[in-house]
């Protein structure tokens, strides 16, 4: 989550079980889904596909030093993320 009215950098993690990766990779549109530049261009979201527990989801909860300094918080401070179940 952010306090920016129009965030320009939105990250999303697709929690995909390990057993489903092989199925994803043989899907006809697999490369389109794995191509983050194409996904970003189409959906304006940085999409990461990982099996849980996701290192990227944990990474996005941490603030980078530059942002933490500006906000006056400690480097181990965490931000909230949203979990969407489909």
């Amino acid at each position: 989550v952010t306090d920016k009215p129009s965030p320009g950098d939105i990250g999303g993690v697709l929690d995909l079980p390990r057993a489903d990766f092989a199925r994803l990779l043989v899907h006809p549109k697999a490369l389109q889904l794995l191509d983050r530049a194409a996904v970003k261009k189409t959906y304006e979201v940085h999409l990461f596909i990982e099996p849980p527990p996701s290192p990227m989801a944990a990474f996005f909860q941490r603030m980078r030093p530059e942002e933490a300094i500006v906000r006056g918080v400690q480097p181990d401070a965490c931000r909230g993320i949203l979990r969407v179940s489909l």
């Binding site: 390990r18 990779l25 099996p51 530059e66 400690q74």
Partner: protein, 146 residues
């Protein structure tokens, strides 16, 4: 903006590097066991490589600056943007900051001489750059000159 150093930013950033490295290794193994092609494997590993590059190139230098300095200036604006600020902007900021710090220190220390005592002089630690900001560091000598 000033920031007092109460925690170790470098070790925190190193921990994040380890987490992303672990994620890269895990994804590499998963790609192999899932039968990914070379192109698919490259696409799956790319985010971790980008994160590692960002951590090493931007976050780690800034974390070290914060850990090693007593005073941090965080500057916003188009002339401070980018990895390397303009020399003219840097020189002006450092001069103004040094003068203000010395003026304050002289008042607090009761120094009335025009000349700046050696123990009040400042040490420049470094510059850290970002997409929209730059950081400058000054560090006061901690020991009074004899």
């Amino acid at each position: 903006m000033t920031q007092s150093v109460a925690v170790n930013w470098t070790s925190e950033t190193k921990q994040r590097v380890r987490e992303i490295q672990d994620g890269l290794l895990s994804m590499s193994a998963l790609a192999k066991e899932s039968g990914a092609t070379d192109e698919q494997t490259s696409l799956l590993l790319e985010p971790y490589r980008e994160m590692l590059a960002m951590l090493y190139e931007r976050d780690m230098p800034l974390a070290k600056l914060v850990d090693e300095s007593a005073l941090l200036l965080h500057v916003h604006g188009k002339f401070a943007a980018g990895p390397s600020p303009r020399v003219s902007v840097l020189a002006k900021l450092l001069t103004q900051t040094r003068d203000q710090v010395i003026c304050l220190a002289k008042q607090l220390g009761g120094v009335t001489t025009l000349r700046v005592p050696a123990f009040l002089d400042t040490t420049f630690v470094g510059v850290g750059g970002g997409a929209y900001s730059s950081a400058f560091q000054l560090q006061m000598h901690r020991k009074r000159a004899t």
